[in-house]
């Protein structure tokens, strides 16, 4: 019997604890991913990588909001051909599941990048079908159940590694999208990506981000993300990874109670450094002990009324 109360199994991946690094945070370099793993993360997800390099948007790409951050980086990435060597190296140094986030402008592109990432050594891929600030990819795919189905099917056909689908909260009904992803073969769902947002400076009467619109993350979005997880868990069997404003162990526990099997942490790294993973894991352990649960698996979805 497994005595680690934090260990969990998700989409075929064994996690020593339920906290993962969210995509978009701290980049690609094997050194930084390793540092996050050493700091206590149960898994790491890379920044999104596409078929060809992208330089992203000019600054400002980040703006502070009340209780959150709005960003529009514009998917900067070195392209999968270049990044494949870093994936191969990362795989040799990482001791936790290594998930590569991929994006594309078509189902074929998603499949090609996912296949290359898996071949290079990724333990799983996470499809970024929810980036809210780059045209013709991201949420433009994830908001359309038909397109999303095509993308997931082609990726599933291209690789045998687990396929995680990261959902956008910028939809009328996230359950409908989650059902489509699940039916198309998604092995897990990450809920959610950033919430579409804008920041305007009154003095200059200008939007601050160079891309005008961006995505809001951090504590401001937590209640929205929590509701998305709750709603999806009610109707969909596919395991969920909760994501959105998780900063403390209590936030993490709430997501698990809502139905998440694991959580991702991103924006909290700005204020708490990588030690945030250990702090959250200790808090979850103490909670389980106090409430006399032997494993986090016992509390997944426990807050559901039905």
């Amino acid at each position: 019997m497994n005595s680690n109360p934090l260990s969990t199994r998700l989409a075929g991946l064994e996690l020593r604890n339920p906290t993962a690094l969210a995509s978009g945070i701290l980049g690609y370099s094997p050194e930084s991913l390793q540092r996050i793993a050493e700091a206590g993360a149960g898994a790491v997800v890379t920044k999104s990588v596409g078929l060809t390099p992208r330089v992203g948007y000019p600054n400002p790409t980040v703006v502070q909001a009340n209780c959150g951050i709005i960003n529009a980086m514009g998917l900067p990435n070195p392209g999968i051909a270049e990044y494949a060597s870093e994936i191969r190296y990362a795989k040799t140094v990482l001791t936790v599941p290594f998930i590569v986030s991929v994006y594309g402008y078509s189902a074929e592109e998603y499949a090609a990048v996912a296949k290359a990432a898996a071949t290079a050594g990724a333990d799983a891929v996470e499809l970024n079908v929810s980036c809210p600030h780059v045209k013709e990819t991201g949420s433009e795919i994830g908001q359309n159940p038909k397109l999303l189905t095509q993308v997931i099917r082609q990726v599933k056909a291209a690789t045998s590694k687990p396929v995680i689908v990261k959902l956008s909260p910028n939809v009328t009904d996230i359950v409908e999208i989650a059902q489509a992803a699940s039916a198309a073969g998604a092995d897990a769902l990450t809920a959610v990506n950033t919430v579409r947002a804008i920041a305007i400076d009154a003095e200059t009467a200008l939007p601050i981000l160079s891309n005008t619109r961006g995505g809001l993350s951090g504590p401001a979005v937590k209640p929205i993300a929590l509701r998305c997880v709750y709603d999806i868990y009610e109707k969909v069997k596919t395991p969920i990874i909760g994501c959105g404003g998780i900063t403390t162990w209590k936030d993490a526990v709430e997501f698990i109670l809502a139905g998440a099997s694991a959580v991702q942490i991103g924006t909290a790294l700005a204020q708490k450094n990588p030690a945030v993973f250990q702090t959250i894991n200790r808090g979850i352990t103490a909670y389980l002990k106090k409430k006399k649960y032997r494993s986090i698996k016992e509390i997944v979805g426990k807050a559901q009324r039905n």
């Binding site: 978009g24 945070i25 701290l26 980049g27 690609y28 370099s29 050194e31 930084s32 390793q34 540092r35 920044k47 390099p53 992208r54 330089v55 992203g56 000019p58 600054n59 400002p60 790409t61 980040v62 703006v63 502070q64 009340n66 209780c67 959150g68 951050i69 960003n71 980086m73 900067p76 990435n77 070195p78 392209g79 270049e82 990044y83 400076d201 003095e203 200059t204 200008l206 601050i208 160079s210 951090g218 504590p219 900063t247 991103g266 924006t267 790294l269 700005a270 204020q271 450094n273």
Partner: protein, 274 residues
Amino acid sequence: MSAKLNATNTLRVTRIASVKTENQTTKTYTFKDARCAKAKPGQFLMLWIPQIDEIPLSIMNTEGNSVSVTVKAVGDATRHLHNMKQGETIGVRGPFGNHFTQNNGNVLLVGGGTGTAPLLFLAKQLATKTKRLSFIIGAKTKNELLFLNQLDPLCTEQPVAATEDGTYGLKCLATQPLETLLAEEGKEKFKMVYACGPEAMTRQVFNLTEKHGVQMEASLERLMRCGIGLCGSCMIGKYRVCKDGPVFNSQQLREVKDELGISKLGFDGNRIPL
């Protein structure tokens, strides 16, 4: 989100209070910002040039509620800034990053080009604390030697100037007089060498301090986006220059010596030679 990060990272819009021309390519901008005016030497700020860009700049001085940055025109954003005048609107976030430690033993500062700016700020605070404060200042040519007049009274001995073309001081790189000072006999060793400048210079300073068994701290520069340790644009080794740096000590520099003065990440995350 902690209140402190929230406040530090919130964009404040201010006006350029004054512009001072240092030489043909370099200007110093002063503006009011109470938060950045509390910065420690080595910290940086993000300066918003509306509709153009937002760039990281080392803090050169603080006085009352005012803060100054020294900017060389090297790209679109800095050239645009050079055309801006007193009274025009800019935005600021920060101060960000760590800072130089302030050693009260014998210290030696090595500044190259605009890298002299944060070291001037540091020298002002060290002047009252240290027994010996030496300064080596390097540049391509005479009129790119910054702040020589301001540094002179802060140092316990005359600052050593080195120009590549020999138009002022020694005709050599800044690292040549450094070697001489580190090797000098019969005097108490330097407790700390502080460096800021082109990374090829910093790498040489690192090699020399290692050779002579002297501790150092260097302020590094990388392409930056968020400034708060999230985006990963400014990684060197496992470190985020914006959050774990920009000041790195000898121990950390040893860990990143494969990249120091050799390569950095481009805007697409690909490694490019420096």
